[in-house]
């Protein structure tokens, strides 16, 4: 019987190609989004599972007053000694240093290559974390290194590299490290994922403070005895363990590594997880609604068949089963298509979210995918199948067989829900996009970073000399250096304006031409002058917020204590945004920089980029041939830093597209069907003198009404949501009515496009033809 059901379902699918493809494509897109979201959630919730001891491992985090932060994800190295000694529950502890920010230079022959995220650790690290060595043996002896497989093939190709020596430069120190072993690459969902691990002897050269309490930049991991109680242990640590430092309110605690990724305040990962989880489910649900809508309409053409089957001895259950099989077939095809979509999208997705999700990763993800498929079949098939199994057989024998599209409350609700989500997501999308543009508009943020190249490096020597060299080429318009770049600097301090000051200020050093590179305006007074020695020794530039904070009427010439030294205010900068937009606005203190810096900023002529790039590389290569030139534009760096923001925005946009697409498909199918069914009616109306506009309005009226209802329901909610969202930024987009009107218009246009073509084409047809139709 099932084979016959499948056969019939297949033939029906073929016969109604349009509605079948609407169903399949819609479900495929929804399923694809849902599956992707579930796989992502699975990946996120399984952080650190690749380590056998994951349940017993914890990272030490530090609490205290660290300027802008109250918590650090790292701690001081002494913790690795004190904790296992004082607390018997802690079996083992290890110090780890991570070298990030492109600070490692590895030489492949003579070619310097920038690398990131190298780890420095002690031998007992491998007793705690699970690494699989594919070649060689790890001993952790002095001046050795182990590489991941992908790293080994990058530097040594296919030859056996064990015993080879790698030349590595870190912070200006040269190391020759012997390659001891090669380990299998770890998945992305672990904290200790790294391309290379160097022996602890390297740390001895790089860091003077490898014990003690003053450097809080170490990762310390602890291994506990099985079945330890993290809460009790932490209470004990906070109560009994007092690190000997001057800082008040300073203590450490353990955070299980499995919680670190999602539950710590250091990474905003749970937001993305919720967004994707909920968004993915909504996208799938909308696709299912769409399917229910389409299939109930399509099935209304098959009531006659049901009647025939009932009169031939088919039971309600048989009918129910038959239509479930129908849904099963459609969903299976959609499932196949969705897998194809996923395998195409997955590389981009992984890149966007820094994950390595795959469809072939183990049994559990596969089960999740299959469960989602089963759930989709049930949810989409159940209602239509129940409706069909309740069809009255006697309808069939009524003289005429013209099953009419009856009004359905269910369909009304489903369409309205689709509109609600479409409008909501569109509004969020517009708000987040406009906010992104708004806060980097030069009028708002107070600087313009277009065509600014930023290069980091060191051992350049006197930068004044490099500046003169660089400016020789006309394609270079301005050169400067400083501690950091606009909208990226957070160095909060309380040591200004006397010893009792409690207010935080952002403090920052730069060279005088910084203003010209970034086109920052001076409101009052002037900026540093290169030739003015007095400026350097006792001048200071502040922002208007600081002037307001101290209630100065005329700030120029006022004296300000910075870091214990008295300085004279020479100028006030405009509303320039120094810290990232998600930081609260603070007073700003700009100090003059010396002749050395690791951050060079160059404004180039956009019409002559190639020339400028060549010239910059030439000059810098001469200054330090041993450091690779890492030429990047400010905007690229900003995008990199704002990666979470951008990836979140991209995800929202993808959901908007998926949901709008489904709503469009659903409307298209619905209007197509309605028009097919009302051809005769349209013909009669035209004979009676109705215009095309009349006919169009008549048929699309119901959609427009549902749209208006949806818009009225969701806009106030969306407004509240937007206010909430914007409050996380220091410079907020003013919420104007046009944002909401624009989203409404977009959905209306979509409705018009989806319904218009078929209706108008039919309305334009010769009515006589339509009347002959029956």
């Amino acid at each position: 019987m099932i084979t016959q059901y499948i056969k019939i379902a297949w033939r029906n699918l073929w016969r109604n190609k349009l509605s079948s493809s609407i169903n399949i494509v819609g479900l495929a897109v929804g399923l694809g989004t849902g599956i992707l979201a579930m796989l992502y959630s699975y990946n996120e919730m399984n952080y650190e599972r690749c380590h056998n001891n994951a349940n017993q491992l914890a990272k030490v985090i530090t609490y205290g007053n660290f300027g802008a932060f109250r918590q650090l994800p790292t701690t001081f190295p002494q913790a690795a000694f004190d904790l296992p000694e004082q607390f018997p529950e802690i079996k083992n502890a290890v110090r780890v240093k991570r070298i990030s920010n492109n600070q490692v230079v590895v030489f492949r022959g003579t070619e310097p290559i920038l690398e990131n995220n190298f780890l420095l650790t002690e031998a007992n690290f491998f007793e705690m974390f699970t690494y699989t060595f594919s070649e060689g043996r790890y001993t952790g002896e002095a001046n050795t290194i182990i590489l991941s497989q992908s790293m080994a093939s990058k530097y040594f190709g296919t030859q056996n590299p064990i015993g080879e020596v790698l030349k590595i430069e870190i912070f200006g120190n040269i190391f020759h490290l012997k390659l001891e072993a090669i380990y299998k690459d770890l998945p992305n969902n672990t904290l200790v994922n790294s391309p290379a691990i160097m022996s602890w002897s390297v740390a001895k050269t790089l860091f003077k403070e490898r014990r003690g309490y003053s450097d809080t930049g170490f990762d310390v991991y602890c291994q506990m005895l099985p079945n330890y109680d993290i809460k009790k242990l932490n209470t004990k640590i906070v109560a009994d363990y007092k690190p000997s430092t001057q800082l008040d309110d300073f203590h450490i605690a353990l955070m299980p590594i499995k919680d670190f990724h999602l539950k710590s305040t250091f990474e905003n990962n749970s937001a993305n997880l919720y967004l994707l989880f909920i968004g993915g489910l909504i996208a799938l649900l909308i696709a299912i609604f769409n399917y229910i809508n389409q299939s109930t309409i399509q099935y209304s053409m098959r009531t006659q068949e049901v009647g025939i089957r009932l009169s031939n001895g088919g039971g309600r259950k048989d009918i129910f089963m038959q239509f479930m099989v129908d849904t099963f077939l459609t969903t299976s095809l959609a499932f196949g298509l969705s897998l194809m979509i996923i395998s195409t999208v997955l590389p981009y997705f992984n890149q966007l979210l820094d994950t390595d999700i795959s469809l072939n990763a183990g049994l559990s993800p596969k089960l999740i995918v299959i469960a989602l498929f089963g759930l989709t079949v049930l949810l989409s098939g159940f209602y239509p199948a129940v409706v069909m199994s309740k069809v009255k057989a006697s309808l069939l024998l009524k003289s005429m067989i013209s099953p009419n599209l009856r009004k359905s409350r269910m369909r009304n609700v489903l369409t309205t829900v689709q509109f609600v989500f479409a409008i909501l997501l569109l509004q969020i999308m517009i708000v987040s996009q406009r906010q992104g543009e708004y806060m980097f508009n030069s009028d708002v943020c107070g600087f313009n970073a277009d065509n600014v190249i930023a290069i980091n490096g060191y051992k350049w020597g006197d930068l004044n000399k490099i500046k003169t060299e660089l400016l020789r080429n006309t394609s270079v318009e301005a050169v400067s250096w400083g501690q950091n770049m606009p909208a990226m600097h957070t160095n909060m301090t309380r040591s200004w304006n006397g010893p009792n000051n409690q207010r935080m200020a952002n403090i920052f050093k730069c060279e005088p031409d910084f203003l010209n590179v970034f086109n920052i305006e001076i409101d009052k007074g002037r900026f540093y002058r290169r030739d003015n020695v007095a400026d350097r020794s006792d001048g200071v530039v502040v922002n208007q917020l600081l002037v307001n904070a101290l209630a100065w009427d005329d700030p120029i010439g006022k004296s300000l204590r910075v870091w214990g030294q008295k300085r004279e205010v020479i100028g006030v900068v405009s509303n320039y945004m120094a810290a990232p937009p998600i930081f609260e606005e603070t007073p700003l203190i700009i100090m003059p920089a010396g002749n050395q810096s690791q951050n060079l900023m160059i404004l180039v002529n956009p019409n002559n980029l190639k020339d400028a790039h060549q010239h910059i590389e030439l000059v810098l290569k001469q200054a330090n041939p041993n450091y690779p030139i890492n030429l990047m534009y400010y905007n690229e760096i900003a995008d990199e830093l704002a990666k979470t923001f951008i990836s979140t925005a991209t995800i929202v946009n993808a959901f908007v597209i998926v949901i709008i697409f489904n709503a469009f498909l659903s409307l298209f199918g619905l209007s197509h069907f309605i028009v097919e069914r009302s051809k005769k009616q349209i013909g009669v109306k035209k004979v009676m003198g109705a215009s095309v506009i009349n006919v169009y309005w008549e048929l699309s009226k119901s959609f427009v009404i549902r749209f208006v209802v949806a818009f009225a329901i969701i806009t106030p909610l969306s407004y509240l949501f937007s206010v909430q969202y914007l409050s996380t930024f220091s410079r907020q987009l003013p919420l104007t009515a046009d944002i909401f009107i624009q989203s409404g218009c977009m959905v209306l246009v979509m409705i018009a496009l989806a319904t218009g073509y078929k209706i108008i084409r039919t309305a334009l047809e010769n009515p006589v033809k339509a009347l002959r139709y029956e």
Binding site: K7, Q304, E305, I308, G313, A393, S394, L396
Partner: protein
């Protein structure tokens, strides 16, 4: 076999009650061939639906094979449809997506008969109605008369005792109609009870008994 007593069927429209059938008393014995006649809207099809257990009634008593229909379970009704009642329709009502052979075996599939056996039954029926060559065609590829033959073949595939035909010749021209009536007569001669609704006086006379229906009442029963 069929015993209808004081059957009423009506719809309530706001405050008004619209009667479809009024006080129908009818009994039909096994092996009979009854023709029901009457103008459009007289309630012929509704009566047939009630007899065929596809529709309910509001008042009265209906005994089918000595069972009271009003208390019949859904499952039992399905069983009757599978084994005892066959339907033939004016518009043939074949399922468009199924071939001739698949249409004929519809009720056999529901009865759970094995494939081999089904094929044998279908082959016999195709042979009997001379449509062996049309076996794998779809309904749309057949003439009206051929479609109705398939409809009859489907109705009798599970060897029902009762055949209900709702204007079986209504959509056919007279020569095809006559052929269909001959087939029905033959089936009746073999022992199948037949109730047909018809507008055609000539075809009505194939029945051994004619019942005239007007405005939901039996006008005249021979």
């Amino acid at each position: 076999m069929i015993d209808l007593k004081n059957i009423f069927k009506y719809y309530n429209h706001k405050s008004q009650r619209e009667y479809i059938l009024k006080d129908i008393n009818l009994s039909i014995k096994e092996g009979e061939f009854v023709s029901i006649m009457g103008p459009s809207g007289a309630g012929k099809s509704t009566l047939l639906n009630i007899i065929g257990l596809l529709d309910g009634f509001n008042e009265g008593e209906y005994r089918f094979f000595d069972t009271e229909v009003a208390t019949l379970k859904e499952k039992k009704k399905v069983d009757y449809h599978r084994n005892h009642i066959g339907f033939i329709f004016q518009a043939y009502h074949l399922i468009d997506e199924m071939t001739v052979a698949e249409n004929i075996e519809t009720s056999l599939v529901y009865k759970g008969i094995k494939r081999k056996e089904r094929q044998a039954i279908v082959a016999d029926l195709l042979d009997r109605f001379n449509i062996v060559g049309k076996k794998d065609l779809f309904p749309a590829q057949l003439s009206g008369g051929q479609q109705q033959l398939v409809g009859i073949a489907r109705a009798i595939a599970s060897k029902p005792n009762l055949l209900l035909a709702d204007e079986p010749t209504g959509n056919l021209h007279s020569s095809q109609g006559k052929m269909i009536m001959e087939v029905l007569k033959e089936l009746n001669d073999e022992g199948t009870t037949i109730i047909q609704v018809t507008h055609n006086n000539v075809f009505a006379n194939y029945g051994k008994r004619i019942i005239n229906l007007l405005d939901g009442r039996i006008e005249k029963a021979e």
